[in-house]
Symmetry: C2
Subunit: 410 residues, 2 copies
C-alpha cells in the first residue's frame, strides 16, 4: 500500500501512466499517441494528458520521424540496471540501460558455483560497482538488479530451493542480499526462465504467447512462457525437463533417480560418450584427436561432425531422438506454438534438431503440432544478462511497482 490509495481517481491516473509506460517499454521502436489510444482503449486526450506527465518525469521521450510523426519511447537514460547471469561454470555481469541494452559486460568462464553464495555475490557487487564508476553513472540511477541462477528459485523471496548443483546456496536470500548491496529493487530467477523471457521480448518468441525455451547445456532445463509471462510452478521448478526419465535408459543421476534425460543428452554425458568413442576407435576422428593428446569435449564431437565422422553424426542423431521423445510429451502437455532450443549443445545444429523434429512431429498429436515450429535460438552472446535486465524492466513497469516510482517523484 502506498500513499494516496484512498483517493481512487489519483490511483487510476497513476495506474494508467504505469500501464502506458509498460506498453511503451515493450515496443522497440516506440509508439505513437494514436497507437497508444487504440491499444489501451483510452481517448486521445486522456492518452495525451498522461503522456505529458510521463515526458515530464523523464521516463519516456519523444522521437520525431518527420514533422508529422513522432514516436514515444523509453528514455534509455532514465535509469540503469545491474544484470547478472550465473551459469554452471560462468558468470556474466553487465550494466544495461532500462531498455536492456548492455553498456559494459564482464564475463568470467572459470566459475565454480558450489561455493558459499557470498563468494560469488561479493564478486558481483565489486565488479558491478567498478563498472558503474567506469561508466560515470549516478548511484541513484541504478533502478534495479536482475539475476539468473542455475537453480530452482522461490520467486517471491528470491531464494534457491534445493539447488542440485549449488547446494551451498540452499535457502540463501539472494534477492535480499542484492537489494541491500545496491540499495534498490532486485529480482532473482532461474537462468533458463530468464533466457525464455529474453526470447519473449528480443527473440523468436516475440509474437508468441505460449512457447517453450529449452536450454541444452551442462544441464537441461525448460523455460515456460504462458499467456506471455513466465510460468514457474508451485515450487519454482516447473519445466525441470532434464530429470524426466527416458525410455530404456538406466544411468544413475545425481538427483537420486535413474534414466534422466540430462544423463543422456547433457554436455557432460556427450563428452563422456565421446571419450568412449575415441578409446574404442568407434570414431576414427576422435581417436585421432585423442592420440594427438587432445582432450575430448563436446567441441571435438562438433569438429568430428564437420569432418563427416559417421559415428559422431549417428551418435548426435540418437541424442536428438532422446530429446525428441521428451519434447513430444511437452508439446502434448503444453500445446505451444514454438519450441526454441538454446545452449551450447545446439551448436550441433540440424544434425541434432532434425531427429528432434522427426520424433516430435511423429509422436505428438496431430493437432498439437499443427502450427508448431522447432527452432534454434538466435539470441546473441549476451543472452542471460539481457534477459536479467528485461526481468527488471518487466517488474518495474508493472502498474503496482511503477506507481510507487511515480508517486515517489510527485
Amino acid at each position: 500500500m502506498y500513499k494516496g490509495l484512498e483517493n481512487y481517481s489519483n490511483i487510476a491516473n497513476v495506474f494508467t501512466e504505469a500501464e502506458i509506460c509498460h506498453i511503451i517499454s515493450r515496443s522497440d521502436q516506440g509508439m505513437t499517441r494514436a497507437e497508444l489510444s487504440r491499444f489501451t482503449g483510452f481517448s486521445k486526450s486522456t492518452i495525451s494528458k498522461h503522456v505529458d506527465t510521463l515526458l515530464a518525469s523523464g521516463y519516456i521521450t519523444e522521437v520525431y520521424e518527420n514533422k508529422k510523426t513522432s514516436y514515444l519511447t523509453l528514455n534509455e537514460d532514465c535509469g540503469y540496471v545491474v544484470a547478472v547471469d550465473l551459469g554452471a561454470t560462468s558468470l556474466k555481469i553487465a550494466v544495461c540501460n532500462i531498455k536492456g541494452e548492455p553498456m559494459l559486460v564482464d564475463v568470467a568462464e572459470d566459475i565454480v558455483v558450489n561455493v558459499p553464495p557470498t563468494d560469488i555475490l561479493e564478486r558481483v557487487v565489486k565488479t558491478a560497482n567498478s563498472m558503474i564508476e567506469k561508466l560515470g553513472l549516478e548511484r541513484d540511477k541504478i533502478i534495479g538488479v536482475g539475476m539468473g541462477v542455475p537453480a530452482p528459485i522461490e520467486y517471491s523471496t528470491g531464494k534457491p530451493v534445493c539447488p542440485p548443483i549449488m547446494k551451498m546456496w540452499d535457502d540463501f536470500p539472494v534477492k535480499e542480499y542484492l537489494s541491500q548491496a545496491f540499495k534498490t529493487r532486485a529480482y532473482v530467477d532461474n537462468d533458463v526462465n530468464i533466457m525464455a523471457l529474453e526470447e519473449r521480448w528480443k527473440g523468436d518468441g516475440r509474437s508468441d504467447d505460449n512457447f517453450l525455451f529449452i536450454k541444452l547445456g551442462t544441464g537441461i532445463g525448460c523455460g515456460i512462457i504462458i499467456n506471455g509471462n513466465i510460468y514457474r510452478g508451485s515450487n519454482g521448478c516447473a519445466g525441470d525437463v532434464g530429470h524426466v526419465s527416458v525410455e530404456g535408459f538406466n544411468h544413475l543421476c545425481y538427483c537420486g533417480n535413474i534414466g534422466c534425460l540430462e544423463k543422456l543428452a547433457g554436455g557432460a554425458a556427450i563428452a563422456e560418450s565421446a571419450r568412449g568413442m575415441a578409446q574404442t576407435g568407434k570414431s576414427p576422428y576422435l581417436s585421432q584427436l585423442m592420440n594427438k593428446g587432445e582432450t575430448i569435449t563436446c567441441r571435438s564431437v562438433n569438429d568430428a561432425i564437420n569432418n563427416l565422422d559417421e559415428a559422431c553424426i549417428e551418435y548426435i542423431r540418437s541424442v536428438g531422438r532422446y530429446i525428441g521423445e521428451v519434447v513430444a510429451k511437452l508439446v502434448i502437455f503444453y500445446n505451444p506454438t514454438k519450441v526454441i532450443f538454446g545452449g551450447g549443445i545446439t551448436n550441433f545444429g540440424d544434425v541434432l534438431l532434425t531427429p528432434v523434429r522427426e520424433v516430435v512431429f511423429g509422436r505428438s498429436t496431430a493437432l498439437a503440432t499443427r502450427n508448431l515450429q522447432i527452432l534454434k535460438s538466435r539470441l546473441g552472446d549476451n543472452i542471460g544478462v539481457v534477459g536479467a535486465a528485461i526481468l527488471v524492466r518487466e517488474e518495474l513497469f508493472k502498474p503496482n511497482e511503477f506507481s510507487k516510482v511515480l508517486e515517489a517523484m510527485r
Copy 2:
C-alpha cells in the same frame, strides 16, 4: 468497445463494480464490506458506494447474520444459466442459478456423439426450453449458456478442432448456435477443462492456483489450472495426455499413433483386458461371471476387486503404474500442488491410486513432489453441468463483459 468508453471515470466505476461482483461471485458464503475493502484495497466509502449500486441493480443481495454483521452475496435469482455436459456416451442438461446450483437436471445415458451436431444441439435446445418453462422462468433471465464437449475446442469461437471421437462436429460453430438459440451469450469448452474449473471453485482445488485435473473415463484427458484459470494451449489441446506414449507398449490408437496411454488405461482398454482375463481363466471371478452369461465391463472388474480377485487387483495396479509414469512427467513439467483424478475409472479407488502415487513420488523430482497431493475428486453427480454454469459465471463477471451488462441497465 461499448458506450461510455471515452469517459474514463465512468468506466473506472463500472470496472470497479464488475470487479466487486466478480469477487463476491467467487465466495460461497458472501463477503462483508470490510472484507471487500481489504481484498480490493479500496476505501470502505468507495466500496459502499459501489455496493449500493450493485444492490440496486439486483445482482447482489445482503444477508444479515445478526444485527451487526451482514454478508453480500450474489442474488441467486438475478439470472439463470443453461448448462450442458456432453460426454462420449451421455448428455446432461441443467438449468442452474447464477451461483451454479442446478434447479433441474436431465440426464441421458444413451448418446452417440458422432452424429451431425444439430441432432444433439436441437435436443439440448428443446429440453432446456421445456425446463425453463417448467420452472416458470422469464426468458430474459437466461443470462448465459455453457457447454462442455469431449473434443479440443477453439475457445474464442467455440468450434471443435479435429475432434477424434465426434468427427462430424469438426469446425461447427457450437457457440454461435447456442447463442442464437437462447438469444444470450454462450461459452463452449472441452469437457475436462470444465470439470477442472468446477474443481477450482467447488472442489479440492479451491485453494490452489496451479493444479491438474485428470479425467479417467472412456477417454483420458487433463484440465490444467494455471494462475487460477484454465490453460488451453495454442490450439486448445493442452493436456491431451491420453495420447502420450507409454514405455514398451505398442498398441495402435485411433489417433494414428502407437502406444497411447488411453489404449492402456481408458475404459475400453480395461474392459477388453477384463474379457481376456475372463476367457483365459486368469481371473476366476470374471470367468465365473462370463460363464453365467454376464457381459464383462469395467464394473465387473470392480466387483472382482471387491471380492479380492488377485488377478484383477494386480491388473488394475499395473494400469495405475502406467498412469503414474505419464503423471510423473506432468508433475515435473507443471509442478502443480495437486493432481485430482475424476471419471469412472477412479471407482477402482486406492487399488488404482496407490500405484499412481508410488510411481509419481518415485519418478518425479523431489522438489516437484515436496507439497504434491494426489487425490480422487469428491465432486458430486452433477459434475460437468455445474462446471459449465461456473464457466458462464466466470465469463459474465469478468470486468469487460459485466461492464456491458451494467451499462445496459443504466
